[in-house]
Structure formats: structure tokens, C-alpha cells
Symmetry: D2
Subunit: 362 residues, 4 copies
Amino acid sequence: MTDPFAFLVARGPIVDATTPKAWLQAMLDVEAALAAAQAAVDIIPLGAAESIAEACNAERFDVVGIFEDAALGGVPVIGIVERLRGAVDNDFAAHVHRGATSQDIMDTAAMVIVAGCAELAAGQLDTAAGLVDRLTDAHGATPMIGRTLGQFAVATTFGNVTRRWRAGLHDASEALRSSAAGLPVQLGGPVGDGASLGAGAQIAGGVAERLNLVSPGHSWHTVRGPIARVAGAWGLAATAVSAVATQIVSLAASDVGELHERAAGAGGSSSMAHKHNPIAAISARAAAMQVPGLVSTLLTAAGGHEFERAAGSWHAEWPALNAMLRATGSAIGWLETSLQRITVDPERMVANLAAAGAERTP
Amino acid sequence: MTDPFAFLVARGPIVDATTPKAWLQAMLDVEAALAAAQAAVDIIPLGAAESIAEACNAERFDVVGIFEDAALGGVPVIGIVERLRGAVDNDFAAHVHRGATSQDIMDTAAMVIVAGCAELAAGQLDTAAGLVDRLTDAHGATPMIGRTLGQFAVATTFGNVTRRWRAGLHDASEALRSSAAGLPVQLGGPVGDGASLGAGAQIAGGVAERLNLVSPGHSWHTVRGPIARVAGAWGLAATAVSAVATQIVSLAASDVGELHERAAGAGGSSSMAHKHNPIAAISARAAAMQVPGLVSTLLTAAGGHEFERAAGSWHAEWPALNAMLRATGSAIGWLETSLQRITVDPERMVANLAAAGAERTP
Amino acid sequence: MTDPFAFLVARGPIVDATTPKAWLQAMLDVEAALAAAQAAVDIIPLGAAESIAEACNAERFDVVGIFEDAALGGVPVIGIVERLRGAVDNDFAAHVHRGATSQDIMDTAAMVIVAGCAELAAGQLDTAAGLVDRLTDAHGATPMIGRTLGQFAVATTFGNVTRRWRAGLHDASEALRSSAAGLPVQLGGPVGDGASLGAGAQIAGGVAERLNLVSPGHSWHTVRGPIARVAGAWGLAATAVSAVATQIVSLAASDVGELHERAAGAGGSSSMAHKHNPIAAISARAAAMQVPGLVSTLLTAAGGHEFERAAGSWHAEWPALNAMLRATGSAIGWLETSLQRITVDPERMVANLAAAGAERTP
Amino acid sequence: MTDPFAFLVARGPIVDATTPKAWLQAMLDVEAALAAAQAAVDIIPLGAAESIAEACNAERFDVVGIFEDAALGGVPVIGIVERLRGAVDNDFAAHVHRGATSQDIMDTAAMVIVAGCAELAAGQLDTAAGLVDRLTDAHGATPMIGRTLGQFAVATTFGNVTRRWRAGLHDASEALRSSAAGLPVQLGGPVGDGASLGAGAQIAGGVAERLNLVSPGHSWHTVRGPIARVAGAWGLAATAVSAVATQIVSLAASDVGELHERAAGAGGSSSMAHKHNPIAAISARAAAMQVPGLVSTLLTAAGGHEFERAAGSWHAEWPALNAMLRATGSAIGWLETSLQRITVDPERMVANLAAAGAERTP
């Protein structure tokens, strides 16, 4: 454990999907898909592709060493290709990574990672939406006072609140799934023109098919629409989670008291034993608040690619992307936990509504 | 003129589409569409809707006064509704803004503004892409040295560069158009449940149809997916523009000299008369660089909506949204100008390639 | 009026201090100070310096034309120097802007603008702190329930709240003043080495003295510590204002009701006549929320300066800097307004404390 | 290892200074200092303070367990206090954490961590500045062409470049040291008024003295000037590093070729064996680019603290703060590596200057 605040921003299933091992396996999957696609058009022997496919198993490699060595060349791919060449039959070593460049492997692997994370996170959002539906079913008709700009407004129902939550979570889940649907393979070779790859379009199509990505018809080494699109979708998701969590925290405030987030052992205080803090919703907010800054880092980096491969703007994307996936996924997980813990206090809703009404009568 | 740096970030057609008058007209259009949709289902008299429609003309109002008065209630809608009630037949005053809340009008007007700006900006991106095509047609086959991480890599052609540019600009244009295709009407009434609006869904549909928006089936006063989606799309567009501009600046550097951006009277220096600065590409970069921070402001605000209307997070969206539209639109305009001014130096490309090749030979 | 949301983010005395005219005057002041400092060491004739000083009056120039022309060279200085040369005695034209480069004038003028704005904003923060003191004097001893993580914690007094506010505002005022104390003159000539300026250090000292800046002993064309330092101080100030405004909004919530922000004609609603929204505090939050994104734009730009003058990262600083000054200054102004409008409800504080206490008793 | 991109953004001595164990030790140090300060004014027995001091050793605790348990209460302090009470003499357990609240411990520990990191990072910046001085000594007089906006400007020397670098690094080092000089202890008790702490000011002074912090005279639970000030200083430092790294990358570009960054085994390519990428400078840029977004997260969070302790805005500070320290520290380390590897090519400087001169002659 190296991050003291992993309990906030690197928690739940999203973590395993974004570890060094997960990234290594994604890069190996890209190398294997490339070899298979090249074998299919007779650019490399079928035996080479098979030998490469067999070798492309993260369990067989020194994960720590690979990512430490990345400091030498600035990218983990160099060490992976070297080790992979050592792991296949000698005759086939030259067929590993053929015609590709580091950025082809990294960018395509990033898309594989993002696609997996999107599926995971969308699933969690759906689960959270289901938990919201349970609240609607149980308490949707309960009358409550609506509040705008913090002030009592007019009467509404709790279902008005929960249906908005559901809409937001559903929108987020859709945004993640739809952004993940068209993620492109990257395959341009050293300078992005595909010249080194022979039958470029066919190979790109083959790689895309094997990895569940799409073939965009051109390389995107320095035009980073895919990164910006992913950033936008995850930014939206974090925003939706944060809004629901913010509303839970607001309704759970002692002065309002219409919701409680309670669980044995959780939400206590080091100085005040009587408190029940809505700590899961609070943590969801804290995790989600990391995301806008990370999105801005990704967009800034995406706009700064010069020549045929950027000297820094490309590398800057990786940690921000991984942190964004993790923080968003953690925020969703925290919200799920919060929704599981929520109890509604319909009596308090009715009482608050009555008190608000009294105040509003001229 | 109140912004000294409007020449960088508030320039071209996007400005007229985002002025106080444009926002006022958009809000009036929403009020008129609401009245028309309500008349269509007999909630208000047809005559009222006609009188309101006639009055909903920004030319007839004191634009400056309306936006100055917005400081009183925190939102321009209050002053608009008051004045609009004064502008219609006395009998119809009560039918103005019926069942709606300020946020319904502001949010829907924001979507109208965004849709108009997206059409404008996408058109400019298409124009820019066309200018890139002219470069491809004229010089696409010219051989040049590819550069990765700032270092000579292998030979490629100028068409490899310009085809990437085109792909990026096309992607941006698509992103803006597709984000603008499904922009939702906002219609929830004071606390978002539509209770004050009578036949809510039908009216929302009617308003949406009249304004070329969609009816989302729920209000989104506090779940801000639409704002986040718009932020993501414009962030992507700014990124695409910035990447192309960055590459123009790189290729126009004296040490490279493969492009020049030249125009009579432009790009000079206060101290060095011999210089030809690629000032339009530089300005495109500078304008686009404003956008990631604005996106992060929008996402942060979008995640902070509490209760039925946010006390601050909602209001914070407006200036950031308008500045984002303007900076992105200005960046596109600057890039268009740059592309018009570009001249290619194929001799230098060939010479640089030869020099690079020499260096690469063992 | 070109910005519809000026009522939120471009309001109060900070606006006049950041207009095109203010920037023009600051740039003219720099030119005049340069000429005077050069005359003092006999590099240019005293008569030239006097003629330049007389001409350096923004009233005499076409402000709009100058900033429109800035689109040609990418910087307003070129047009200013040209016009200034036309405005002085023919013999002295060559002594205008002698040895300087555009960035010398822009950067130094930016420091002049920032210094003026810091004085303004610090003064407003002091006024706001004074208004807080009045609250402390009147109600500091009133008991109230403290709330942590939104939950009732233990009893405290309203003075605990207001003394924290005061500390925050005082800290912000100090931060602005101290950041403004050491703002450096920029004087490096075309490539920053001062070679064109003759007796560089002496002249820099003379310019600094005349403009109330300091002479840093080197140019900072591409190392942007001064910009980053200013961004940090204004970020801190916006943060302090936002925290106080957030706490006002929280205490003014109907469910809490311990404060009210009331003023004739302000804080109303388009749909709910009974509401009293704390609109000044809300607007303070909205304005302050613009600042973190602008700070990140400034820091990003500041880190991207290449060679002897950046092609974009420099230009990107200007609109972000001006918007940051305005948004922060507007936020302070809004907070001042809020503090003037605040009324305290000590009965409600006591009643809430009693209710909280009851809840806490086992 | 859980972060695949630690080689970029979590590298060098800053990592050990920001681990879970480092944070745990810092929190234990705060508890020990509190007990000692309380014993000194006879609020707790001297024996209790001694027993607590002895127990406050991170080696004696289950670091992983403590930070995993933090998910329960949302803050690691609860688990630490519990375990610490178990680790001291039974009679003294009640004297542990006496009168303090979780935020007192976390905030003060954060200041301890920041102070240590600032010392570390400032030292590294000084080392980097020393490496720059060696370049100045060896090649400062070498003539070269200055470049502005990417264009050849006028002749200067390499010393003009390196002296700017030195100024930037020195400024950054000063900024870190000066921001670390006045870091405040946090000691307010449950709701920040110090009521639970007895002789508050004296104790705060005692804690501050023992931890090398200052006593601010008030708690800052919800006015976050100290966090904003730290964010500003580290933002400045990252900016300074990024600017130097950007200039190294620019001068090392093949088209310029005036610098090279070379080391055995480093800077290679997976597809182009002949390349020498300035990978350490590139990595410095990539690490530094993470920082502006993190600063904006910190400022946003800092401005959102409501009531007596924020429900989310406080928690959001921790991961962003730790990531900011690490990314900045890593960027400095990468720059140090780059400066160690740099070789200057004075012949190329002279040749480029000649070529530029030729071009400039009318």
C-alpha cells in the first residue's frame, strides 16, 4: 500500500482493473492481437502469432520490473517488447511488435483499460440506480418541503428527489457505455502513417475486432479526441455521483434530518460518540471532487501534442487517466455504500413540511 | 468594449451568439414557446400565447437594464418576466411564465444558446477542415522527416500531418454537432416535479419541438448531465484546435521552417522588424488553453447541486459556460485564419529530410 | 456591455481597474517610466522623456482601435508604440520603447495592474472584516450548536463562527498585500538578456522605483514565478471569500434559520413571492468558484514557456489573469454586500441549540 | 506497487515522505506533542505524556489496517486514537487525544508532512540549480540565436538561458521554503473554539514549538488559507520545473540540436534504435503537468467548507495534497536527472546562429 488515501480514491473493483498488472495484460493483449491480425494477412507466420499469444500472459512477467524500467525509456512498452521477444521462440522474436510503435501499444491498451472500467463503472451505476428505485418504491409518495437556494419553496414528494437521482445515475451509466462503444485502436507505426505496417487498414481492423474496439481509419497519435471524449464521459459520471451524494449529505444534515446513513461501526467520531456522519456519501463527494481537475489535466495535455509524438503531453495523460478512472469508480462505490445504508425518516419529512408551511402563511 | 483581451478570446461570430441580447432573446424564445405549448393544450388562451409571442422580441427591451437588475434577484429571469408582463395585454399578464421557474427559463435558454453556438462552431471547424484539405491536395505527397519526442524519427509525408489535422477537426465538428443534437428542455416548475405545470410531459414536448430541443422526461435542475456533456464536447473541440495550432507553431519554427504563416500587416514584432510570427496559430493556442480550466469549473459546479436548486453551483455555471463557448469559438476562428495564411515550403521539407537522414546513417 | 454575466463576475471597482483603458494606461506608464529611467542615466535626452511622459495619457489614444489592432501582431504593445511615436515630438520618436520588447511592457504593465487590484481588493477584504467584527460585537456571545459534517456536534457561540471568518478574510487581505509587495519589473529586451538596454540593472531599478515595483535582477520572460505567485495569492483570497459565503448560505438555510440576508428588492423569486434568498452570498460563491479553474490555466500556461518567448503560453496568461482579478474582486464585493444585509436571529440559535441538545441526551 | 505510472509521478525521496507510514508517524507526532504540551501546563500527568510519547512510533502499529479502517469513519485518526489508547498504560488511555478532534490531528499532521516535503523538494531544487550553474560555468559565454515565438530573434548567449533557469529554480526553492516557514498548528477541538482544550493558546503554542510549526491564534478548520498557500507555492515550484524542462526539450529537438540528454540505457525507442530522447526532461514535464489540476482541486475544496467541519470538501483535500507533493517532487527529481545528463553542443549553437544570421540579413 503506497497511497494513504486509497480508502477514498482507489477503492473497489476499479482498482484491480487499473493496476500495473492490468495495464501489462492490456498491453500484452494488444501485442497478441497485432500478431494475430498480421498472421491473418500473412505478414507474419501463424506459428509466430500462436507463440506470441501464448507468451502474452502477465503472470509470466516481472510486473514490478517492467514498470520500474519504464523510467529508462519513458514508456513501459520498450521493456515489455524486449521481454516478450525473450519469451517467444527464438525464430519468432522478430515478429513481436512488428511495424508498431510504443504509442500504438500504450494508446490501444489505454482504450482496452477504459472499456473494461466503463463496463465496471456503468454496472455499479446501474446497481446504485436500483438502490434508488427501492427508495422510490418505499417512500416516493412521502410529502416533503422542496428547498431552492437553501430556502423552503413549495411542497413536493421524496419521489421527486429520488427520480432525479435515478435520472442522473442512468444518464451517467449511458454516458460511460456510449463513450466506451466506439473506442479506437491506435495503429500508426513510428510516425503515424502506417507505412511500417503493410496492409494497415486490414490489420487495424483485425486488431480492433480482437480487442472489441473500432478501427478509426487513421492514427490519432497527436489528435487526442478519444482521450478528450473519455475524459468528458467520466467527468459527467463523477458529476452525477457527486450531485446525488451532495443531496444525501444535505438531507441527512441534523437540521433537516430527513435521511440517515447508518451502519454498525461506520460514521463515528473521534470526539463525539453520539454522531452519525453520512460518511459514505461524504467520501463519494470527496472522491468525485478529484475528477474535474483530472479532466482539465487530460484536456490540457490532449491539446499540446506537437509533431508526430508529443514530448510530455502524451506521457502526462497516463497518470491523470488512471487517477480519473479510480476516483470516479471509487466515488460510485461509495455512493452505492451510502445508498445501501440510507434510512428515510418520513415523519421528519412531514414535520418539516408542516413547519415550512406555517412559516409561509402570510 | 470591456475586455482588453477580447481580441484573443471573444472574437468572431461566436460573440454575437453569446451577448446579453442573444441570451435575452433565447430566454424570450423559451417564454414564447412555453406559452404556445400551453395554449396548444388549452391551459392558457390562444390570444395570450399570441400576445406573448409578439412581445418576445429582444429589440423591445432594455437589455442593459435587465442584466443589471439581475444583481437583485441573482438571475435575469425575474426582471424579464416582470417586463414581459408589462409588455403584453393586461388580461394576459398572468399567463406569462405560467407554472415555470427561473431555472426552467435559464437552463432551456442555455441549451438554445449552446445549440446555436455548436452549429456555428461546427461550421467553422468544417471550413477549417476544408482549408486543411487544400494543403493536402497541394502538398500531401511532399516527403518530410517525422519527429517524435522532438527527435528525427523516420521519413513520412506532409499528407500524414494534414490528414491527422483533418481527422481531429472532423472529430471535433462531429462532437459538437452530436452533443447539440439531444439538448434537453428544462421544465420542472419551482421544485422540479412539474406539479405547477399541469400537463407537464405534453407541454415539455411542445416547448422542445418549438425550440429544436428534446424533452428528457424529467427535470434536471440538480442533475447536470447536460451541462457536463456540453462541457466535454467543447473541451474536445478546443483540444483538437489546440493540437493543430500547436503543430503549426512547431512546423513554422525558424529551426524547422517547413511552414510559414504570413499576412500583410500581421505577425510583426515591436522590436524585431524581420520576424514573421505565426500569430494566428499562437492566438488559437492561447484561446484554446482557456478551455480546460473552464471545463473543470463547469464540472465542479455541476457536481455541487443541493436540494431542489443549488445556491451558487448553478449560478457559477453561467459565466464559465459563456466563456467556454467564446474561447473555443475564438480558437477555431484563429485557426481558420492561420490555415488561410499558411504557405508550405516543400524545399525545406526535402532539405530537412536529407539532413535528418544524414544524421541517421550509422 | 458584452458579458451577460458581468453582474456576477465583473462587478464593482475591480472592473475599472482592469478595463482596456486601465491596461493601456498601465502600458503607457511603463513606457514613460522606461524613458524617464533612461533619461536619468543619459541614454536618451531629458526632453524626450518629458515629451514621452506627456504623451503617455490613455485619454489621448483610441483605446478600442489599439486593442482591435492587437489581433494583427498578437499583442497590444505594437500598436501602442506606433501611436506613441506619432504622439511625441518627431525628434523623440526613436527614443520611445528604446531597447525594450513587447513582453517587457506587457509583463510590467500586468504587474502594475495586479498591484492596483491587490490594493483595491485588500481594502474591500478589510471592509468585509470590519462588517464581520460588527456581527461579533453584537452577537459573538450568543450560544449556538456547532455542526460538523452536517451533524449537530457540541455547543459553541456565534463568535466562534465570526472570528473564523475574520481570520480568513484577514489572511486573504494579507496574502494579496504581501504578494503585491514584491512584484517585479520586466526588462530584458528582445531575448531577455538586457543587451539592448545598455545600463540594464540601473534602468530596471529606475523603472521599478517609478512604478512601485521591485527590480528582480534578471528578466523573467520565460520563468513565470511572478505569475504563479499572483495566481496563488488570488486563489487563496477567492477561497477565503467562498468559505465565508458558503457558511452564510448554510446558516441562512430555512432549516437552520440562524442568519438572514435581507434587502429591499433583492433576493426575490420569479415563482415564489415568500422567499428571501441570500443572493449576495450565493453570488459571492458563484464568482469565487470561477477562480480555481483560472488559477490552473495560469499555472499550466506558466509552465509551458519555451525558448526566449512562448508561442501561446504567454498570451494565454492575459485573459485568465484579468478574469481571475475580476472574479475574485467581484466575489469580495458580493460578500461585502451580503455582510451588510445580514441579520442574526439569536432566538433561533438558542432554539436550535436546545433542540440539538435534546436530541443528544441519551 | 499499485500505481503503474509511479515511475513518472511518484518517484524519489518525496515518496517515502508521503507514504501511509509517514502520515501515520506525523499523526502520532501530533498526538505526542499535544500530550507533552498538555503535561507542561499540568492538564495531564507527565507520566501520561511520557507513556504516549513512547507509544507514538509508527513501527509499533498496523499501518495497513489503520488506513483500511479509515473507510469506516472517513478519517484515519479514529483508528489511530483507538489503537494508541490500547498501546499506553491503562491509566493513561483517557489522556490520549484529550480535547482534540480528528481534524486537529489530520490538519496538523498535514502541515508536518508538507514542511518535510518542502525541505526535501527545496533541497532538490538547490541541487538542480547547482547543476545549472555548472552549465553556465562551462558554456555560459557561448553565443547562440535567441528565439521568440519560435522564430529566430537576435543573438544572445547560452548563459542568458541558464541564468533564467537558475532564477526560476531559486525562486521555486524560496517559495517552498517560505511557504513552509509559517505553517500553522491546528488545535480547535470538536467545533473549533478550543473550549475543550482548556488553556488553548498555551497548548497550541507548545504543540507548535514541538513540531516546528507556528501557532496561528485561532483554528482554521473551515478557513483554509494554509492549504491554499501550500497549493500556491507547490504550483509555483511545478511551474518553474516545467518551464526549464520545456526549454530543455526545445533545445534538444533534432532541428535545434544545441543540447542533448544522453545516458547509457535511457531514452531509447521501441521502434527506432537511433533515437536519443530527452526522456528525463520529458518526464519532468509530464509530472509537472499534473500539478495545476491538483492545485485547482485543492482551491475548490478549500472554498467549500460549511459549518464547523466540511462534509466532503475537507476529505477531498487529502488525496489531492499528497498527489501534488509527489508529482512536484517527482518532477524536480526528473529535472535533476535531466540536468545531470545534459551535454551542450557549442558548435551547433554557433552554426545555428550563423544560419539564423544569414536568414536575417536583408
